[in-house]
């Protein structure tokens, strides 16, 4: 269960960011922002190898005392960043991967929509609902 999910465009501006409505959503935004650097690092590190061989799932970008940040990048350099609560009994890596996979699929669906202009904010309800399923249910 993620506390924050963000989709970052190639140019590193957010296409979609959504957090669990806790007190400081800004903190999550900041974490996502800083994680972009790590993502770029990882991309460039692997960049030697061809993009094809590059793994989409980046894994744990960096952990903080409270949260862990995971990253995933598509072949078009669209990044998905997910912040997960550390207290959450460690989600297995597979689960994180599956969550990213779902994100990616939904993002693809959004892209397929002719009414969606790449670069716009993602306002798809379907995408929203999918993200909701992944987010921690904080009521």
């Amino acid at each position: 269960m993620a506390v924050c999910v963000a989709v970052i465009a190639k140019e590193n501006y957010p296409l979609y960011i959504r957090s669990v409505p806790t007190e400081s959503e800004l903190k999550f935004h900041y974490m996502v922002h800083t994680s972009l650097d790590v993502v770029d690092e990882k991309i460039s590190a692997m960049g030697k190898a061809l993009v094809d061989q590059r793994e989409l799932y980046l894994g744990l970008l960096y952990p903080t005392e409270d949260y862990k940040v995971y990253g995933y990048v598509t072949n078009s350099k669209v990044k998905f960043v997910m912040v997960v609560d550390s207290s959450n009994t460690a989600l297995r890596d597979n689960e994180i991967r599956s969550m990213f996979r779902k994100l990616h699929n939904s993002y693809t669906d959004v892209m397929c929509n002719p009414f969606y202009n790449p670069g716009d904010r993602i306002q798809s309800r379907a995408f929203d609902s999918m993200v909701t399923t992944m987010m921690i249910q904080v009521c």
């Binding site: 699929n105 939904s106 693809t108 669906d109 959004v110 397929c112 929509n113 002719p114 009414f115 969606y116 306002q123 798809s124 309800r125 379907a126 929203d128 609902s129 999918m130 909701t132 399923t133």
Partner: protein, 796 residues
């Protein structure tokens, strides 16, 4: 409870209601929640409801079984008709109208009823038959499904009357009624209402699954459009989404429609159609859509690419966000293109939206591309869940999928029902054509991941066999024998194989006689263990091309046989005295009569019981040509061991082993054996001074052996002259051997290797045995000398 007699209409109605309440599809128990809602919708005072529940036995049982439910429904009808609630009144009150339920669920039920009534009423005055639903508010209850229910309630207002009026009406009629309604400007609603009751009715009339499906559909649609939509919808077509599923909602819509008096008939129709099941597409609408589709894409089976669809729908001047949402809803297979079905659904949604209907969160079932195809196109589950089912996340995905199949089920039912159903079915049929589309699209579905099973060969192959053989050869002596033995068993000419094997084993036993390379003259096989091994190795050469799969078991067999030999050997060693006795039984008859004769000759000479035994054993052995000379060897060995202390035994053993080796040996071996035997005999002859006959034995032995071997080997000896020859003969004689040339070669080579190994082992064994023989002979001489020395004393 007393028996309950229901009329046909009642039966149908009740069963439909039951299935509606049977949310868990148990077919046995109606969910209490639903039932309670239903009763509440019946607009009966609470105490009456409680009384009903008590009367039907539900309170007693704690749940609503089918009978309880039916009784309860009947009591509701009784109560609604104003009759006092009595248990007897169930059957006594005749011509009870069907129970009326106002709430959404009720709407559903009432829908059927209302539809009936609406049929009767027709043409726009819903209210005629159906008393205004006691509570629109009840509709808001959305007990069952949500907004649609509400919508229903509004329609229920009209509908309630209908059930009362025409409870007996057959479901199909109601759809007709609906239809008519839909024809009206308000008809759009009616259509919808038709759709509502239609699907609802069909389940009623048909299997309960239909109703459950309807329920599912309802649930599917219920979510999103907030009730307000419905409310607002009262004026404008309520969000058909809700209604789509529920006939009631349809009815509501129709009602609303009439109220709303849509702008154009088309729009109204569209609106109504957008709500199959409130979002149903009417025929005219569909035709219109199809025509529009053709303007973009002449091929009805083709796709409309996203870009052109975008342009087209942008013309509708709807906000892009809404168009985007519509697209998400309608592009069912997520391929970025619209099939005819998808296009119609999208157009329908656009129309609805333009008319004020809110967009559903999930694609209404009636708008879904053919259910059949949906199922085909993989993502049925995924898409519904992901596409626009945000509204009712929990319900959407499951409802979509189950509803779709259920819709499939309902469709035939629908088809059977009224025109409305026909419309529905038409849609379905068109959707069938769409199905084709979908099937075209389906492959593009990224979510589908078809993994074709890759067959994996599980059966052993020749290669495997060869490997096995190689393993056998590789592993130690024992291995060769096993494969050899295995081979023998596999081969059709088992005998030959066995004989060859036996020869080999015999060779091993025979101290190297078996080994083609070294036929030492020591037939004695003293080293049982060695012999054992040799026998194994001996067998290995024989097994040139072990028959493939069967060999596996054979190796075990062979091993076991070899083990047996070992056992026999050990036995022989252990029981030096009794071993001989034991051996004969263990030793299969030797194939070489000559040998038997040989030893027999010896034996009698020696006049040793054991010897006779041994002699007999060889006799027996030869009778079984294919039997391992091995056994003879064993016998000999046993006899040898046992008789070690016995000069005569020695002689016999000498003879026997000698014979043994000769027996199993292939022709070549036999020849060698013969030579060895001759040597042995020669050796033994001088050693056996007392045995005058010994000299006789050897000569006949070799002769016999030769004969025997020849006889024995004849069948086998096709080509052999050497070990390889033997092998080749074995191979040739074994028709089954050559599975494949390569395999044979490999097998042959392997067997050759094994044979060579066996040969070396046997040669060693031979030398050892010969050494032993010499020792024994010396001992014998010394004993004889002693005897002579003692004799004079004895005489004295």
């Amino acid at each position: 409870m007393e028996g309950l007699t229901l009329s046909d209409a009642e039966q149908k109605y009740y069963s439909d209601l039951f299935s509606y309440c049977d949310i868990e599809s148990t077919k046995k128990v109606a969910a209490n929640g639903r039932v309670l809602e239903l009763f509440r919708a019946a607009q009966l005072p609470n105490d009456v409801v409680l009384q009903i529940m008590e009367l039907c036995g539900a309170t007693r049982l704690g749940y609503f079984g089918r009978s309880q439910f039916y009784i309860a429904l009947k009591l509701v009808a009784v109560a609604q008709s104003g009759f006092p609630l009595r248990v007897e009144s169930i059957n006594t009150v005749k011509d009870l109208p069907l129970p009326r339920f106002v709430a959404s669920k009720n709407e559903q039920e009432s829908r059927p009823a209302t539809s009936y009534s609406s049929d009767s009423e027709n043409q726009g005055s819903y209210s005629g038959v159906i008393p205004p639903p006691p509570g629109r508010g009840q509709v808001k209850k959305g007990s069952v499904s949500h907004d649609t229910v509400q919508a229903r309630t509004s329609t229920d207002q009209q509908e309630p009357a209908s059930p009362v009026v025409s409870p007996q009406q057959s479901p199909p009629t109601s759809p007709h009624t609906w239809r008519k309604h839909s024809r009206h400007p308000s008809g759009g609603n009616s259509e919808r209402s038709h759709a509502g009751p239609g699907p609802f009715w069909s389940p009623f009339g048909e299997a309960q699954s239909g109703s459950s499906a309807g329920d599912a559909v309802w649930s599917g649609h219920s979510p999103p459009p907030p009730q307000e939509n419905w409310v607002s919808f009262a004026d404008t077509p309520p969000t058909s989404t809700l209604l789509t599923m529920h006939p009631a909602s349809v009815q509501d819509q129709t009602t609303v429609r009439t109220v709303a008096s849509a702008t154009t008939a088309n729009e109204i129709r569209r609106q109504s159609s957008s709500y199959d099941d409130p979002w149903k597409i009417t025929d005219e609408q569909r035709q219109y859509y199809v025509n529009q589709f053709k303007t973009i894409q002449p091929d009805l089976n083709g796709f409309i690419p996203g870009s052109s669809a975008k342009e087209f729908f942008t013309k509708s001047k709807l906000p892009i966000l809404e168009l985007s949402h519509i697209w998400e809803l309608s592009d069912f297979d997520k391929d970025g293109a619209l099939t005819l079905d998808e296009f119609c659904a999208a157009f329908h949604l656009v129309v609805a939206r333009k008319n004020g209907y809110d967009l559903p969160e999930k694609l209404p079932e009636s708008l879904m591309p053919k259910l059949i195809d949906l199922e085909d196109s993989a993502d049925v589950g995924d898409q519904p869940g992901e596409v626009g089912y945000s509204g009712s996340p929990a319900e959407a995905p499951p409802s979509k999928s189950p509803s779709m199949p259920s819709l499939n089920q309902t469709w035939p039912e629908l088809n059977q029902s009224s025109e409305q159903w026909e419309t529905f079915s038409e849609r379905s049929s068109s959707s069938q054509t769409l199905t084709q589309f979908d099937s075209n699209i389906a492959p593009a579905d990224p979510d589908t991941a078809i993994v074709h099973p890759v067959p994996i060969r599980m059966t052993p192959s020749k290669i495997h066999m060869q490997e096995m053989e190689l393993k056998r050869t590789g592993s130690d002596h024992t291995n060769p024998t096993s494969p050899l033995l295995v081979k023998t068993s596999d081969l059709s000419e088992e005998n030959k194989i066995n004989s060859s094997v036996k020869f080999a084993s015999a060779n091993t036993v025979a101290d190297g006689y078996s080994s083609s390379d070294s036929f030492t003259s020591d037939p004695e096989q003293i080293g049982n263990n060695v012999t054992r091994q040799r026998s194994h190795s001996g067998t290995s050469p024989d097994h040139t091309a072990p028959p493939p799969p069967p060999p596996r078991p054979q190796p075990s067999h062979s091993r076991s046989s070899s083990l047996d030999m070992n056992r026999t050997f050990s036995v022989t060693t252990g029981q030096q005295q009794a071993g001989v006795v034991a051996h004969p039984p263990a030793v299969p008859p030797r194939p070489q009569p000559s040998q038997t004769s040989g030893p027999i000759v010896h034996r009698p000479v020696d006049a040793d019981g054991l010897m006779t035994h041994t002699s007999t054993s060889p006799q027996q052995i030869p009778e079984q040509p294919n039997f391992a000379d091995f056994s003879q060897f064993e016998v000999f060995a046993a006899s040898n061991v046992n008789e070690e202390q016995d000069d005569e035994a020695e002689k016999h053993s000498e003879v026997l082993p000698v014979e043994k080796p000769s027996d199993p040996a292939s022709s070549l071996r036999v020849a060698k054996t013969d030579s060895k035997i001759e040597e042995k005999t020669a050796a033994s002859t001088p050693a056996n001074v007392s045995k005058g006959t010994t000299p006789l034995a050897p000569p006949p032995k070799p002769v016999r052996r030769r004969l025997k071997s020849e006889d024995e080997l004849r069948p086998d000896v096709d080509e052999h002259t050497q070990k390889t020859g033997v092998l080749a003969a074995v191979l040739a004689s074994q028709p089954s051997i050559p599975r494949s040339v390569g395999k044979d070669k490999k097998a042959i080579q392997a067997s050759i290797r094994r044979n060579k190994e066996t040969n070396t082992v046997l040669a060693r064994l031979n030398s050892e045995l010969q050494q032993q023989l010499k020792d024994v002979l010396e001992e014998r001489i010394s004993l004889e000398v002693q005897l002579e020395q003692l004799r004079p004393f004895s005489h004295l």
